[in-house]
Symmetry: D4
Subunit: 246 residues, 8 copies
């Protein structure tokens, strides 16, 4: 279909042979990067820009390419400074300070089902916001339930019903990550656990929480990399939208 349309455009002279050949490779060669223009077709979401280790010009270059494709754009791990510059360059985009994300052309949210994002403490909130902004950019509704760690477990029970009615629950915790097992034992939907690098001493930058979550005594828990709010939301979005699929 896409390919046929492309070929018709060549036939009609709307597209040069060179441009068409480029499009058929499935990526856009920028020299410093090959932007994957088929990702939305294959993965449901377009290529995401991971901001760490890319300079402002590179990010602007990639956003410009993706913008033309009329797709939702998400750039993560964007510093305040770069965020402001992106907003200046693309005035219809939004920069989320706490989440460190830049968003353009987000998908309209669907109101029936939602993703619950739960944190153990206040310090886990930035990772939670990266997850929340990612999920919202991909068209999901989100409920934020923050600072309900097990040291004061009644705080969790006060919000339990909301968590139980989500399509999927993202639990974000540092230190020993015990909240994941408690939540996992109380819900009948998938739990995606995000260890954070919050803690000190033998926490080892989140390794302790990561190992704890992988060894959770509750079933139905799967785990993503340390501080990877984006990755958790990406999987959660796939799960939440599966519900709408059929």
């Amino acid at each position: 279909m896409d390919k046929k349309e492309l070929l018709r455009n060549v036939q009609l002279g709307k597209l040069s042979v060179e441009e068409a050949a480029e499009k058929l490779t499935g990526f856009n060669e920028l020299g410093y990067a090959k932007i994957d223009t088929q990702r939305k077709e294959r993965n449901g979401f377009p290529e995401i820009i991971y901001g760490e280790g890319k300079n402002l010009e590179q990010i602007i270059g990639i956003v410009t390419v993706l913008k033309e494709e009329q797709k939702p754009i998400l750039a993560t791990r964007i510093s305040s400074e770069k965020g402001r510059a992106l907003q200046d360059t693309f005035p219809d985009g939004s920069y989320f300070e706490l989440a460190r994300c830049f968003v353009l052309q987000p998908v309209q949210p669907d109101s029936e089902t939602y993703i619950a994002i739960v944190t153990a403490g206040t310090s886990d909130v930035p990772v939670a916001e990266e997850a929340a902004v990612t999920a919202e950019t991909f068209g999901n509704q989100v409920k934020r339930i923050y600072d309900v760690g097990v040291a004061g477990i009644h705080r969790l029970f006060a919000r339990l019903e909301e968590i139980q009615q989500a399509s999927v629950v993202i639990v974000i915790a540092g230190m020993e990550g015990a909240l994941v097992s408690v939540v996992g034992g109380l819900v009948d939907v998938p739990v995606i656990a995000v260890p954070t690098s919050i803690g000190y001493g033998s926490n080892f930058q989140g390794m302790t929480a990561l190992l704890g979550m992988l060894n959770s005594c509750s079933s139905g828990v799967s785990v993503v990399n340390i501080d990877n709010g984006f990755g958790a939301a990406y999987s959660a979005s796939m799960i939440n939208q599966l519900r709408r699929k059929k």
Copy 2:
């Protein structure tokens, strides 16, 4: 509802006060274990019996309690010897040698959607079978796609369409676990990765595969513990059944 029925049975003299009190605690005290009789209500699936470190009498005791509750029963990590003894004791149950699982009263499978279970090599098959039996016991249809690791990537492409049409994909691999990233880049449904302890030297009993999967360059991947076929299938089943929920 459940509780009201129980109270009515007390009122009618069908249930003694002692039995009712026991039931209201939500667990069944066996001395060596407290069997969680509310797990199906909370988690969608009843308590699973993890066979490692339990002796035959304990397993039979727990199965007996669960059997009365008319729920699907799954016991994992069951040796051949114990498996045969269980089959003798519960003749309507089935022991799966390769998967090392004992099953009784499985849920009838639903035929519309399915879970794809993909392995990199032949040695990953036992873990894959634990996942497959778990998923089937919980009423899911399963497609097995084994030995399609990236050293001969054309084997994967030959089966790609089947993988892409699953509700959720479980990828099982040892060594460096690269298959996960390749599959993750080619599907638009959630991928649950299971590292296996297959390999030698600096493989560290699956640690290398685990770390590789957590750091996958493909989005939409979440990870369970090493060799944890059961855990992957549990999450996958929750995801697959979410699709049917609404």
Copy 3:
């Protein structure tokens, strides 16, 4: 006092100069070991026999020396085979199979206060029994509360009051060890956490539980070595008896 009595016995000819000199060194030289005969005076409890890596003759030799001193005797990590042999040699002693302990001349228990010993699962029971036998040998009353892990947290709440009224709580858990943080958040007495080597894959023989417990988000938790039920009970006994001290 002790020393004066000894010197008087020398004076009275009841004790030879050689024997007295030996006693004054504060240890009993067996060649393969120097038994610390002053430990009860210094530490409140006499020297304990760690059975691993000692042969039967050595253990019998050490028990014989300690028996003469009329002190409570505890030998830990004693295999069934050695246990039976010890019971044959010292018929007034008791061998505890599950705890793998041999006990002789235990202290009479004190009934007012008690130590609560709580486990997450059935597989943690052997470590719990080592703790329980140790605590009882040293004259403490013990309450055993087993298999109340967070995957079914209502089981914990059913026994919470008993836990809260203990002098000190020992929490024993493998896998991710989350039970420690939940209990720690619900009691106002010290919690001693014992990680167990129960689990598989990235559990690393208890390392995951150990790290989780050290990083517990609940205050008032301190930790002993993996599977060290004895050590936890030793500290707990000191704490419990401190209460009686004044």
Copy 4:
């Protein structure tokens, strides 16, 4: 009692229904945090403010809430700059530079029993001071015995009697942490060991001291996280006050 008083206040019109409902949840919702207002009832001590990763406004907000509850307030890991700002905002509070703690409304100390805080070296003193300020805020008397490491063991013997007469001993050491085992062999009260991140090379930021302490050949030792002076004092305070309980 607390709840009855609250209800009476509602009856008397002293408290609005909204405020009462809030209080009954057991926490105070600040958006960025849910302050646990029942912790003193459950744990004996109110919620502590861990300063790392919280900004000044958040800390002031939490202190303000806790202050109203008339409870002792302790904020740990407070930088000099934040400490001075807190002292400006709450002039009746005290900032302890070396301990990096801010204290308000401390409990009056009890003079009969005391906690001994022992360090191996001069560099361990900041962790020791965090422990000392914590213990004093909670109403304990403290004896500081610093720089008595085993390289010059006569320094320890010179202060031994004072250590032996404490209710509980906190031993703080970096490098190999050998002091813990020596002290543990010489006292009949519980020892809480705090590894510090003092050292270099294969010290691994305190991991070596942590492992050494967990493997101490002396009984009666339990361990907290690296540099966790606060946690050790919290447990020690529970132990010391247990003595006063009866």
Copy 5:
């Protein structure tokens, strides 16, 4: 031969005895370093200057010695600042900013065979450029194929033929390093894998990629240290020139 010429020069009085003795030792003593002047004879390439941890004067001193020997000179890990200073001092040299290399007197490239340098992502390019500049300095032709990671595997297939026709392939990747196994399964020449420190969380500064590559399920892969573009190119150059040897 070399030695004979040297001795003849002594005979002819062209070389003092002291200078000749120095040359016969096979190194040039600079006090802070002993420059190995026989390396080209032994290893095929002269001593390389590793810039990290050497100051500008030391680097200039070593370059000066090597320059006299008329050999190709390569200094790696050279900061921009030092690079500019070197270019000022040696105007016929070239500083490569991205590769962080300074080159003088490079070998003329040979055009028949080439080394393919392949990266998974944009962030791996600096390591790739260190490899490319090294290979070119030693007289090899290089093909750069960047950003063809497995998340969009069609980008790799678009360039596959070029990779397959190289003498040797260097594959550079961070995160999980899966590209190495995919390339290894598609070529019949040696693959040298370079893990990079690109990634976060449980990536551990490249350790995950390193372990993944060492455990690759594809044969024909060998591995160098993390970020060691130079080392990979050195081996690749030896392999490529072996082809020309006979």
Copy 6:
């Protein structure tokens, strides 16, 4: 070509459509495995049978398939028992006890160039023999130079010339692996290092040798997994035959 021949055979009725379709997939489906029948075309060598974790029937099944293709067959990690059974089943094959390899239809060796295989100690010989048999099966000439570790470095110098004249050198060492750096400093051809699991204590089953080799101060060294003699020989064979390619 291959494909054309296949199609011609279909045309001529020599091959059924089903068989042809199977062949075109590029693998042979055995249920428990998908044998990669295109590997020789892609990688220069056919699929190798890794014996660990495969039972005798599976190995015989795979050998039977490969045998029909008239290709060299190598099965590694074959126990004595399986080795003897294979020799009984395939009488024209050879089982190498020390190398634990079974070989059938080896390639005729080429006499001009050779691979040097060097070990540090006597205990490294089994890994060396796996390398040697692999290299010989693939048609390479091998020189074995065993037990020349640096504790007696004159033994290495006695054989140095032979090592220097190889096309490629495989160095195999356990313990600290220092031999690799010494050899690397003395040759102008690529060195492939194989760490072995020989050693004890902090050797960590070869991890120390692996890390040492990755950090070698000599250039031109690349490394394979611990005890991976096969992998080293595979890479070395590719390098050695590259020399013959042109």
Copy 7:
């Protein structure tokens, strides 16, 4: 000298040219090993036979070669079974069961100075005996001071004078290894520390003791590999004999 004598023997026809050439290489080629016959000249002691991983015939072969050289022979890590076989073959040798060593032609001990070998516990004795037999074989006098660990530090003080008057002290300990630091703080001669694999849980087969010893707060301590009694004694012997050198 040695070489001259050899050449004279050739001149006199006492030695064939072949034998002489062999001797000049400095090693004895056995196929499976190259025995270093110059080690005594270079290192002060002849080549030691490390028994692990060598079969009986190999050990007998090497002993036979060394025996002809009239040098002291030490074989370590010799099982009881091999030990008895060696004693049958070489009736003038001695097998030490506990030390697992076989000795032939030991050096006569020197009585003036001695090496002190100190252990923390009973379980460390086998490692201590390996050290003691090694030291005695090399002609040193040894004092054994066993089971003086810091849990009962008065046992150490009872033997302190003997330790202080040694030329060099070997301290052997498992668990946390604290004894090393205490001894190191009390003597003015070098201390060689041997960590043992005694302990459990987070002891990690001696890694905890190893790290503790490397980070000892006492100066003058150096460390050998885990359980390496032989290595400690080798260094200690060099130090003790240095004293006699002048």
Copy 8:
């Protein structure tokens, strides 16, 4: 003796009772430190000042106390800034920039025997200088042999004789630390190995060199902590002076 003289001084009224009591404790109480004034008697050398983590006033305070005792003073890990300030305060002291040491009242060197200090590379020189200054302060003669790593092993052979004639050899190396094994195989005196944190990637701040040295295939090697030049020189000085003892 010392004590008698002290008591006589009290008798003569030269020393007050308070001062004498203080001196008899064996340490000097400074509040922030207890300076061990008996260390020279016990350990042969007085207490050393480890500068890291101590401020200038503390260092000056400790130097002032030690200066009065007329003993050699060594402060290590002293930054340039502190070094200059110390030199201003104590004009007869010397600050060694490269070694980062401050020295006062060094012992006169003894000229007969010497310590050889050998480094693998130029970057290891600062650690070597810390060792050299320490050894010289304690009255030893030192030979510096720098940059003789195994990548150019002829540089080592050029200086071998000097190394072989030392009383004890300190070998300092980063990366893989192979130089230690080569030197250990060529000398008949003790070798003390110092791993340095020089390297990158999988070097792990010296851990690779440390493990390599502990697993050296050469006997007679013992190891100190990473970058611990001081510790190596302390042990070496004890060994060197043992030679002079008798």
